[in-house]
């Protein structure tokens, strides 16, 4: 059973077409992310699902019920869709408790529901405060509790973490994910941060030109991007030239297996563009098989390091990024050899 089914959704503002025939299907109980750059129509999509904007064309169904098909329209207050806008948008004149209890009936407000929700989002005891007395992360969690209070069939989160400090973002993200997993409510989260989408969601839909360009699990998207642009958008990507011969592609970094999923896309032989992720590349200071290069610099991230290497062979152009565990004891200008292994995505070389 699907929680959301969207077919051929169109939405334009004046002359600007924002959504152009978007199709999307989200399974019940999953946490899906809508990923796209600013202006790609992510927020518009959420607003149409919530009923805050109307579709121009196409159809939106929630749990099998048509809520908008351009003529028939179910008003937002009838949809049972919890909506958490970007800035939390707590009612400033109400306390935390009153905010959370806003959407539920009076008897329900008196019960333990509100305090239970506040406990769940880790804000027990703060019910008497006003929104301006809370930190950004706390406000975000109140907004979440407020949306959960109406027992929604679907939860929509619009860039829920973008207003938070980077240091806070990861921890709030994890907490929210835990809460959502505990409730089991289908959730659609909008973000422009690919790392956030890949780390939080079960499924990711990448929006491009008003349509869903690719939809799949984070793993699928990361290893099987549909094209070069998508590969670049979803994480660090080294794009190298190669020659396909059967199931194997020869690159200056060594021979790699063409991923089964992309074999249909490339001819059985010929020039190809090959996606090699930084963690697929081994770096060694010994001279050996592989591509020679010179270290430009390395960024230490704690758990891993990214080393940028300038290629010293004409077969391999530009700078190659390599990710290794821990820290690297490589000074700039050190001579190294790069070699790749594993499976790789390949596309036919664009004829130019």
């Amino acid at each position: 059973m699907t929680a959301i089914t969207i077919t051929g959704l169109h939405k334009a503002f004046r002359d600007t077409a924002v959504l152009r025939g978007l199709d999307l299907e989200i399974e019940r109980g999953s946490l899906a992310a809508i990923l796209g750059p600013s202006g790609s129509g992510k927020t518009t999509l959420l607003r149409v699902i919530a009923g805050l904007d109307r579709a121009d064309r196409g159809q939106v169904s929630l749990a099998g019920e048509v809520v908008d098909n351009g003529r028939h329209f179910v008003r937002p207050e009838r949809r049972r869709v919890g909506y958490v806008p970007q800035e939390a948008s707590l009612f400033p004149h109400l306390t935390v408790e009153q905010n959370v209890g806003f959407g539920i009936t009076r008897p329900a407000r008196r019960g333990a529901r509100v305090s239970g929700l506040l406990e769940m989002v880790g804000l027990g005891g703060l019910g008497g405060r006003y929104p301006h007395e809370l930190s950004g992360g706390q406000q975000q969690r109140v907004a979440l509790a407020r949306a959960l209070a109406i027992d929604p069939q679907l939860l929509l989160l619009d860039e829920p973490f973008s207003a938070l400090d980077p240091s806070l973002r990861a921890s709030v993200r994890e907490e929210v994910r835990g809460i959502l997993a505990a409730t089991g409510i289908t959730t659609l989260l909008v973000t422009h941060d690919q790392e956030e989408a890949l780390s939080v969601a079960d499924q990711v839909a990448v929006l491009r030109d008003g349509r869903v360009a690719q939809f799949g699990t984070p793993q699928q998207l990361y290893s099987d991007p549909i094209d070069v642009e998508m590969a670049r958008f979803l994480g660090d990507a080294n794009l190298v030239d190669g020659t396909v011969a059967g199931p194997v592609v020869q690159t200056p970094l060594g021979a790699l297996m063409v991923r089964p999923s992309s074999r249909w896309a490339v001819p059985l032989s010929g020039a190809a563009v090959v996606l090699v992720r930084p963690e697929q590349i081994a770096i060694s200071s010994a001279f050996g098989a592989g591509a020679p290069g010179r270290v430009l610099h390395s960024e230490f991230h704690g758990h891993d390091s990214v080393i940028e290497v300038a290629s010293e062979t004409p077969l391999l152009r530009g700078v190659i990024r390599v990710r290794i565990q821990g820290s690297a004891k490589l000074e700039p200008d050190a001579r190294v050899t790069l070699s790749a292994s594993g499976e790789a995505q390949a596309w036919p070389m664009p004829s130019a």
């Binding site: 503002f13 518009t44 008003r75 207050e77 909506y83 948008s89 400033p92 004149h93 949306a147």
Partner: protein
């Protein structure tokens, strides 16, 4: 950005139609004035305009406006800096007292001086009285701006090697310049519109001349010709301020960096500063109140029959002012909703057109309405409706400022969240929108009420026959040099306007809430 696209939401038709009607209503006085001018004819108008008296009046206006505006700017800014940015002793009390002269009408201040020191008159008297009465128009916005300004800019200037004085001059003053200019605009417009104080001080300006022409001979053509000049000056001042404001935009610091600025030490200037502000308050506040009390204690009989007791006059004043406040607030509502929520070009133009009222003195609005009533609707002439209408038009800009700010306190996002939480539109308006904008509506009401209570000029012209308000009865007695009889009416006026004045002070002082930053 999606947010930009989203801003173009549909404009509710009822709000749009209401706003257009309001704009038309506000432009009516100007239209009537032009209509009247057409009736008089150009030859007669030009004969009336190009007289020696016009030049004299113009010179009187300019020499007064330049000096008073400059003085008000210096005094208002200086006082604001002392209260907000220095370690001045007793600054909280001073902050309250410095605003209060706004609650005392300028004609009462003038009365205060002239009734005990008849030597205070003419140009010097006008400069003294008007500066004392109008400096809060600069002080209030500048103090608010200094409180909200980002102190890190001044601090950065200090780390870049500027001394405290130069940092103030080059950074702080520049930050607040648009605000100071806006205050100066208010001062000049108030000078242009003032009638009562100049009449008492015997200083001839456009308004006193127009009033004389109107009253003495009901010389409509002459009054009309001079009104045109006043309106023209008013509109030029408005346009100049608009141009300056567009040019002088200052990049605003993020609101959440609302760290309080550290206070400058005054050192040995401490007590001189206290003394200066103390004498300012003594002149602007102590003197008029003292004189009112003096005359009330001394009492005095009047040869003039008292046509309205204080209670009776106060009743009328409160009634008219409250009605006008309600009407003006209601008129401001649709325009503010439209301007804040549908900020498209056409709407902005409509909003701008309502600003024109700011350039029209109460006298001109009142005369235009008299003309209109006499020619087209004789039965509304001399009715309270016409007076309330004039107040509502005259004080619309005040109501609008407060209502607009309050509508910004209620971003659409909050209403949308409330809808998605299962609440119907009406419930959303009652439980979310109304509580958020209510304080602003109350402030709008208070602002208009306070101004209407102390309004004299339009009231003199439009008050129904046989009715006296506090202002008109006070005026009748002072005109007859019955100071003792006049004083209670002034006291009542001040007492009635002080309560909304204090409420207003609180509203302007409140900290911006988070929703305001997000809108």
């Amino acid at each position: 950005m999606p947010g930009v696209v989203r801003a173009r939401r549909r404009i509710p038709r009822a709000v749009l139609i209401a706003s257009c009607l309001v704009a038309v209503l506000l432009l009516l006085p100007l239209a009537f004035l032009l209509l009247e001018a057409r009736q008089v004819g150009w030859t007669e108008l030009s004969a009336l305009l190009f007289r020696r008296v016009t030049a004299t009046l113009l010179w009187n206006m300019v020499q007064l406006a330049v000096v008073v505006t400059a003085l008000a700017a210096v005094i208002g800014t200086g006082a604001a800096w002392c209260v907000e940015r220095s370690d001045l002793p007793g600054r909280r009390l001073l902050a309250m007292l410095l605003v209060l002269p706004l609650a005392i009408p300028d004609f009462v201040v003038a009365f205060g001086w002239v009734s005990v020191l008849p030597a205070v008159s003419g140009y010097g008297g006008a400069v003294l009285v008007m500066t004392a009465g109008l400096y809060p128009l600069v002080y209030l916005p500048v103090a608010a701006s200094l409180r909200g300004a980002d102190p890190s800019q001044e601090e950065t200037a200090r780390t870049l090697g500027l001394g405290p004085w130069r940092a103030f001059w080059h950074v702080t003053l520049r930050q607040t310049r648009p605000t100071i200019l806006a205050g100066c605009l208010l001062v000049s417009l108030a000078l242009l519109a003032e009638y009562g104080a100049f009449e008492i001080l015997g200083y001839q300006t456009f308004t006193t001349e127009i009033f004389t022409e109107f009253q003495a001979a009901i010389n409509a053509p002459a009054a009309c010709a001079l009104s045109l000049v006043v309106v023209l000056i008013g509109l030029v001042v408005l346009a100049g301020e608009g141009a300056l404001r567009d040019r002088g935009r200052v990049a605003r610091a993020a609101h959440n960096s609302s760290r309080a600025a550290p206070r400058h030490r005054l050192g040995r200037w401490r007590w001189p500063a206290v003394g200066a502000l103390g004498s300012l308050i003594a002149v602007a506040l102590g003197m008029p109140i003292g004189v009112i009390v003096y005359w009330m204690v001394r009492g005095g009989s009047s040869t003039l029959p008292q046509s309205a007791s204080v209670a009776n006059a106060a009743g009328h004043t409160v009634l008219y002012s409250a009605a006008a406040a309600a009407v003006a607030t209601a008129l401001a509502m649709p325009v503010a909703l439209l301007a804040v929520r549908s900020p498209i070009r056409a709407v902005r133009l409509l909003e701008r057109s309502t600003y024109i009222v700011q350039g029209l003195p109460g006298l001109v609005i009142a005369l235009a309405l008299v003309f209109f009533a006499l020619h087209y609707l004789p039965f509304v002439y001399q009715t309270s409706g016409l007076l309330i209408g004039a107040y509502a038009i005259l004080f619309f800009p005040l109501a609008y400022v407060a209502v607009r700010a309050s509508v910004m306190q209620a971003p659409v996002a909050l209403e949308e969240v409330a809808r998605s939480l299962g609440r119907r539109p009406l419930a959303v308006r009652l439980r979310v929108t109304l509580p958020l904008i209510a304080p602003g509506l109350a402030a709008a009401f208070c602002l208009v009420f306070l101004s209407a209570v102390t309004e004299l000029t339009a009231t003199l012209i439009l008050v129904p026959t046989g009715v006296q308000t506090l202002a008109t009865q006070f005026w009748a007695f002072t005109g007859n040099v019955s100071y003792g009889a006049a004083a209670p009416y002034a006291a009542a006026m001040v007492a009635i306007s002080v309560v909304p004045g204090i409420l207003l002070g609180r509203w302007f002082d409140r900290r911006p809430t988070r929703s305001a930053e997000l809108s």
